[in-house]
Symmetry: C2
């Protein structure tokens, strides 16, 4: 009798001490499930084996390549064997750019070979190549102040400073057209990286409609700085560029889809994934094999644990992020009106370094404005994040998303992007060095755990992260 | 009157407080000169301009190359113009190895190109190349436990771990002969680096007399780890290697010598320098353009300040360190009996990262044994080092020297090697990335100041660092 009283007292105290806020209820409700998920993910070897197979045996996977279609077929077949609900391929037409042979050489003031990587979507040179004097610039302002007289007939070298990826990558994106508008015959662009061991970094360019399409390639930081110095010392720089790059007719590809159907509201969906295509160098390990396999393995671990959420949890391996975004765009079209049933979209496409948490973005809302809908959702996400604190990966950052989920996020779906320490990602990004050896298996497993916990709780929690009603006006107001 | 008394008291106290040890006398005696030297070095631009010219306009400088002879002619002529005493070239016959065209490819289980750099001194392949199955090993023990049956007719891949340069570089040095002894037809060796962005690192190999000479090339860390994984996954690995490498008849080269002759004991010499040759990739900036130009510019700054030491201070830009050590060996032969008049040899050949101080080695003496001759010299060096504390570069480490001064040090000359933080040196070492952009001009200037102060004080101080008499028995006892 006294013992029962004591137990009742303890129970009462426990309830009394527990704060009554809903975030804590969320944390408490999912603590046990999260523990099972994290434990399973951190001791799982199957995910790493999949990533090893993808990067080692299949290798890089540019849109239009045999390897990408091989990867899609392998993933689809394996997912079917694993027995997920609705494993399917959604056909997507993708650009088919091929690099071909390429080489560049300094012709004057001495002869030496340059390490280059043609930029994605670039046209090639004539078969005899392009030999021309070079003009070295440090910025678009620098280029445009030189004007047509100085630029016409020249190869423009962008020996630009590293100001972080977002800023420096503009020269890769727009450098060709802005130089072509002044009569340049080709461009060489300093690779978008802050740390170099003489490795060029590829990536897509964008031709504008109002300038001729001229060939463009990335050069190493070392060569960009050398060209600046040789010109500063008063030498005339002359270069020779050969590129067979061309765009073939569009190719057939597909988004790979697998899901665990929701037990109570299957029409509502949490979608998560990464892009299955990569550049045609390295192994597409950090970018974005790891993101794809982590999302897939997160679903696999929930399946193995028998954790079926109330809503549908869907994994998509999007095709053609790198040079087109055709996969993300096609998925948005495919869901159509069903976008209103997407309660969240989660992407992992920032590499698989040590994870810190998730960034959270809501279209039309400045994350720092104190918007009540955003703040309420953020509090829920922080509650879920607190379940990941044992991984040192429970932070929720203001702002985030991903390229493939961009079309969904623009349409009003709350977007989350997995965040890492980001120490070396851009050292390896789009190079021959984006290889499995750069990924710590434990970091990868932590990412699997994070996606599984976040995806599962968002798909299972009592209310939607952001109610469709409260969000609609914000999305409509977005630019 | 009272004021004079006070001043006298202060003077007396100052003298009384100053410790009477000789090291402090050394510090005090050279404080003003050191200040002038450091100030001049840190505000000097001429040294950086020389290094810029060497790396940017002349470029890399392999023994036997036109560029090395161009560098030697430029340095000699410039030193003559600067008006040093005894500017001269000491002729040295050097090996003339040429790389020629080289390429390698994975043939099975898929086809893809590999980034390689043939190892210095390697023979080439037959014109049709060598296509053979590969065997991947992790160590010499691993190789030898496999035995001839597993190795004969194969290309051996050393996918060895990074255990620091000293340990891992053994596979570059001896890997070819140890595999050839078991019938291997070629070897590919993981580059000797701890950090890679898909860049191969060259360097010299040593063929032993009792095994056939087979072609050897460095592969990237990424490819070594990939080959290990593909074999671990059960695939047969087949490779194709083409190398035109060959050794031509020996070429004429030279050590470049310039000095400030001693005012009182000119026959006694402090020699300092680095090696002027480099590998045939990158710009030979850290290895060892910076060391050569820093030593030269240190002499130049003393000359400009009118600081003529009592002993002769000599700068030597040694030729052919990388693939022969012919320059260091020839210098030792040239000095002959005069080695007894070498009071110290200083080398800078560990790159030009942020300097910390000097390492000090004495042949036949374990630096940690408490040997009284070593300790006495160390105390003097620490006193000189204290003059460099304002540069955060005044430490004297136990043990040190350099390859080019090795023959002198073996003959009994106290050896000093400039030490740096050594954070990234082996990331760039012997690659296309050993370029000027990797050197901080302020770090370079600090190195100039250090060499100038250390060289000047050693050449000017009242007694020799180690008396020839006290040292002779130690040198004789050396192994």
């Amino acid at each position: 009798m006294r013992r029962t009283l004591l137990l009742q007292l303890i129970l009462l105290l426990t309830i009394a001490v527990r704060p009554a806020v809903s975030e804590d209820q969320l944390t408490t409700a999912y603590r046990e499930d999260a523990g099972r998920i994290i434990g399973a993910a951190l001791t799982d070897e199957e995910g790493w084996q999949k990533l090893t197979y993808l990067t080692t045996v299949i290798g890089h996977r540019l849109s239009g390549s045999e390897q990408l279609e091989q990867a899609i077929a392998w993933a689809t077949q394996t997912m079917q064997t694993e027995g997920f609900d609705d494993v399917s391929n959604h056909p997507v037409e993708v650009p088919h750019w091929v690099r071909g042979e390429e080489r560049a050489q300094v012709v004057a003031p001495m002869r030496r070979d340059l390490a280059i990587l043609g930029l994605g979507r670039s046209v090639g040179t004539p078969a005899e190549g392009i030999e021309a004097p070079a003009v070295v610039v440090n910025s678009f302002e620098d280029l445009e102040s030189l004007g047509r007289d100085a630029v016409e007939g020249k190869i423009v070298v962008y020996a630009v400073p590293w100001e972080g990826y977002g800023k420096t990558v503009r020269y890769r994106g727009d450098g060709a057209s802005r130089a072509a508008a002044l009569g340049a015959v080709a461009v060489l662009v300093r690779s978008a990286t802050g740390r170099s061991i003489a490795s060029p970094h590829t990536g897509a360019l964008r031709y504008s409609d109002d300038a001729p399409q001229i060939p463009a390639a990335a050069i190493t930081v070392e060569d960009a700085e050398w060209m600046q110095r040789i010109v500063d010392l008063g030498h005339e720089l002359k270069l020779d560029l050969h590129m067979e790059a061309k765009t073939l007719p569009a190719a057939e590809s597909a988004n790979v889809v697998a899901e665990i159907r929701g037990s109570q509201i299957p029409e509502e969906v949490v979608v998560m994934g990464g892009h299955f295509d990569s550049w045609d160098v390295g192994q597409g390990a950090h970018d974005d094999g790891a993101g794809c396999i982590a999302a897939w393995q997160a679903l696999r671990i929930l399946q193995r644990l028998g954790l079926q959420p109330k809503r549908t949890l869907r994994v998509v391996l999007w095709t053609n992020e790198e040079n087109g975004l055709a996969g993300g765009t096609a998925y948005r079209e495919w869901v159509g009106e069903g976008i209103d049933n997407h309660v969240a979209a989660i992407e992992m496409d920032g590499g698989a370094e040590r994870p810190l948490g998730f960034g959270f973005g809501l279209t039309g809302v400045n994350p720092d404005s104190g918007d009540p809908i955003y703040e309420s959702a953020l509090a829920d996400l922080e509650a879920i994040g607190s379940l990941l604190e044992g991984l040192d990966a429970g932070q929720i950052f203001r702002g985030g998303g991903g390229a493939d989920i961009g079309p969904l996020v623009k349409g009003g779906v709350p977007g989350l992007g997995l965040r890492t320490v980001g120490e070396h990602y851009f050292d390896w990004h789009h190079t021959e060095a984006d290889t499995l050896d750069k990924i710590d298996p434990q970091d990868f497993k932590r990412a699997v755990a994070m996606l599984a916990v976040m995806g599962y709780v968002l798909a299972d929690m009592p209310g939607r992260l952001v109610s469709a009603d409260s969000y609609a006006p914000l999305a409509a107001a977005a630019p």
